[in-house]
Every structure is written in structure tokens, then in C-alpha cells.
Amino acid sequence: MTGDAVIHAVNLTRHYRIKTRPLAAPAIVKALNEASFDLYPGQTLAVVGESGCGKSTLARVLTMIEPPTSGQLTINGQRVELKEGEPPPKDLRREVQIIFQNPYGSLNPRKTVTAMLEEPLKLNRPELSAEQRRQAALDMIERVGLRPEHADRYPHMFSGGQRQRIAIARALMLNPKILVLDEPVSALDLSIQAQILNLLADLQDEFGLAYVFISHDLSVVRRIADDVIVMYFGQPVETGPASEVFTQPRHPYTQALFSATPVADPTRRKERVRLKGEPPSPLSPPPGCPFAPRCFKATEECIQGDPPLESVNPQVKVACIHVEKAAV
């Protein structure tokens, strides 16, 4: 760990009020429940889980697109105090940038590459001249592995991998400390995926970036993550260093998730831990542990109460009553 944490998150929670029927009281959807972690420069935190588990809500809270309902978020040593509907302070906003899954939807089709790259500079660095801005954009284009002749082209002229490079370049224009990567390679072909992962690794080494890497692809996560948070139904169910979580998954959901992931090795076809059913609806959460209805270890006790995230050893925390906890 080098230096201080760039993100210090304590019990981040985000609830949404949803109208289900006219005149009925709005239902509360707990999209994100009590996520806590520290992220250091040059480190990668992976957030793993299936659709609806709160990964993207966490991304929206971290990028200050939405304020947390409760909990504390400290970015770069500065406590974030956001009000609903208010823009975050500019200096903090600059530190955190986001890259989205679909590079076909996240780039403005009517702007050239340089225009897109220069825009953040225009807004945040008014002291730069037009020439300096263009030079900065051209440098970044080269840095992410595009060629200078690409500078004045429009997004439709690029392939998916190249577009993702443009999105990465745009995110880096203001020298952020933190990149939130929301499924950055899942829309890409395998051969392109490896190129983008390598680029991200190079940039991390060069600029000391901290990554929050949101993904459902465990083989990618295993490769790049330092720490992992496994989420289910809005809650972290297992957190710890990637080396620990991958070699010895403890929570039944983590075990099932790992076992469901196909391994590209035909000699290792295995019996899967089979999960029954599908994740519950957020409008009618099950009693007790949200995973209990699908869990192969579930007992009567599981529906009594929601298990808290407890330490199994100094590094790993698990939210399951069937996992042996460290002696207090």
C-alpha cells in the first residue's frame, strides 16, 4: 500500500423510492447496502456480481452522479457531502472518471475525437490555449494506442476496441486519480479484450491510477484485481484480497458463482454447484439472508435475520452464518 487511500468508503448505501401503483406508498428499493472499502493508488478493486446486484449503483455513487442515502465517502482525503440534485464540487469531480460498458453508446456521434478529448479541458482548464489543448489531445490519442490520423474522425469510423480506447483517453484528459470501469471489456471480442486490459495495466503503472473495476467476468477479475468485493442483491457478501477470495471462496454465493463460470479447459469439466432459481425481486425481498432461497447451505436460521459482514481472518470478511468466523 503506497500512501493514503484515494477512496475511503464506509457503509455506502443507496435506496430508491419507486412508485408501484397510483396512491400506494412508494416502495423502497435497496439498491446498495453498506458497502465499505479502501482503495489505494495503483491498486485495483474489483466489484463482482450479477445483474441487479448493485454494481452500477456503486459506480454512480462513487462518481458522485448520485449521493449515497447514508454512509460516508471520502475521496482523496476530502469528505464528500452531496445533496440530492446538486452537482459535486469541481475539484473532486475531476479526480474520479468513469468508463462505460458500451463504447457504441458512450461517445457523442457528432463530435470528432479531438473535440471530445478537448471538451473536459475547455471546462476545467480555461488557462490553456487552443493549441495547447489540441496538443494535449493528440498526446493522449497516441498514449492510448491510436494513430494521429484518427484525431479528426468521428466515432462511427472506429471499431469497438478503438472506441473503448477513445473513452479511456477522454477519461484521462484531466489526470484523474481514480477510474471507475463499468464492465469495460465485456462488449469486446476476445482478441480486443486482451489489448484493452493490457492498455489499462500500462496506464495504471504509468499514472498510478486506482481502478474500481466492475465486472461479471471472473477470469478477467482474477487477472487484474488486488481486492475483490462480491455482491449479491445490493449487499457485499464477501470481501478480501483477490488471492484469498479466488483460492478459497467462502460464501456459498461466491462458490456458486465461481463454479458456474465456464473454464476454458475441456479436461476440467466439473460438477457444478447448481443454483436454483433466480435473484429475488428488489420490490419483495425475502426474509433474512437474501441468498437463502437459492442457497445450498440454507437452514432455518438463515431466514431469521440478515447476516452481517464479519471477519473470517484479518483480511477476509463474509456475510454468512455458516462460515466460521475469527475468534473475537
Binding site: S191, R223, A260, A264, P266
Partner: protein, 318 residues
Amino acid sequence: MALLEIEGLDVRFRTTNGLFPAVEDANLSVDKGEVLAIVGESGSGKSVSMLATMGLLPWTAEVSADKMAFDGQDLRQLTSRQRRKIVGGEMSMIFQEPMSSLNPCFTVGTQIDEMLRQHLGGSRKERKERALDLLAQVGIPDPKKRIGAYPHQLSGGMSQRVMIAMAISCNPRLLIADEPTTALDVTIQAQILDLLLELQQDTGMALILITHDMGVVAETAQQVIVQYAGRQVERQEVKALFAHPRHPYTEALLSALPERAGDQARLPTIPGVVPGQLNRPSGCLFNPRCRYATEHCRQVEPKALADDPARTLCHYPL
């Protein structure tokens, strides 16, 4: 005689820039009880070759083949009426996006019933019973209630189960699954793959699985065809393919998998991108990205050797 035999299949699309060869010289044969995977990146023509087999391509496509036979019947000679008897009945297909393949205006029951009415007939009551059986067979809880559900009321996994129920409703002898799990979460993907393999084993049908996911291939297929830019570059039995890929593209693709990279600091990559319509290289289509490419590769298009069981499309097979 194999159940489905295709030789020398070419598919070209008429575009404003001239003919675009989406599939060239595709060959495959699949027998009952077999699981064949066709693997490749986007634009490799894996879906197009199967859509051509089903006769589902738009009018802009020109399809030609030396041989295209299903159970001895020549698919090229069929009238559209005869083709309709086979397609959906004996030869059936599941598509990638379950949410958009179902008609949002009709209930699940109506859509399954349409298949049964077209191909099997029977009284309304018999058909309804069959539909309920099918929903139960694909693992949909509470079929009596779900038969009246509209697609928007179902999750992605449930929609895909309904698609599978429709596809197997007439006891097909060949099921083509085009990226059946790509839009689904991993735990649901595992359920759907298990279901497909179970059905395949129970009924003895042939299964062609189109996918880009090497993990899915490794866990389900017996035979594998690898496609690149519309050409089949090699075909092998699954274990042999993963242990000894013959084509440099397959080798590069496998080594780009994060789980195979081991402790290397960076993943091995394939430079460049798949060629499109306007930048097709001369010679071997893979030569600009191939680390073994020579001058010969850049000029002469490789041909598969007759005595090579893998039919590797390479001058220098590994």
C-alpha cells in the same frame, strides 16, 4: 450419412460497395447425438452460415453450396412450403436475445401454441397440455400461471427457457443455438447450458452451439469449428483443439484468454482487428495479424489439405 451435411457453402451479401463474402467455403457435418460448437469473433460468419442453413437470410443474401442436406433431403431444392415443414419442426433454432426474439404482443402460451399448430396439429386441449409439459420440461416454475404471461413479465433467463420450449416443442432432430447464453448472467448461463445438454442427451438430438466464449465451448462441445472472417480455419475434437490448436489464429485466441496467461505481466494479444469489407488482405485473411506470417502467406491464399483431418486453413499448420 450425417444428419446435416454442408459442403462448400458460400454466402454473399449485396451491398452498395459490391458483394461482401460473409461466409466462404463452409463445410460441416453433424450427426444425431452430437454437440458441435462453432466459435469465432463477431463478423466471423458463424451466425450467417447457420441462418443460411435455416433459410432465414434476407433477400440481399446470395447463398450457394455444393451440398446442403438435412437427413438426405436437399435443402437447396426445397420450395418455401416444403422448407417451412422442416424449419421449426425437425430443425429448430434459438437466438441470442431472448427478450427481443419473443413477440411482446402475445402470451407465452400463444407463441408456443403457434409452433404446435403449424407442425403437429391436434386439438386445442391437447396442444395446451403439450405447452404446459414443455414449460415444465424447461424448468419454468408454476407453468399453469406462466403460460398466460407476456414476455415483459419474464426475466432474461425465463425468456430463454420459453425460447427453448418453443424450439423443442416439435421434437426437433437438430437444434441450433445461436449464442444462447450471451445475454445472461453466469449462474443463469450455467442453468441454461445444463438444460440444453440434458435435453440433447434425453432426446438424442444434434446440437449446434454458436458462441464466442471459449469457456462455454470447453464445457459443452464435442467437436469444434473455429471461424475467422467468414472462413473455417480449423475443426477438431474439443480436447485436441485446446491441447494442440493447429491454426495460428486458434493458438492466439486461446493464449489471449486471461485464465491461460498465468503469471505473465501482460496478456498475449492479437494485434489489429478482424478485416472488414474494404480492407480484406490478399493471401491468407489472417496474415496481417499472424506472428508466423511469411511473404508466401501474404500472396497465396491457403487451402486445406485433403489429408488433414482438422482441415487447417494455413500454409504452415502448427
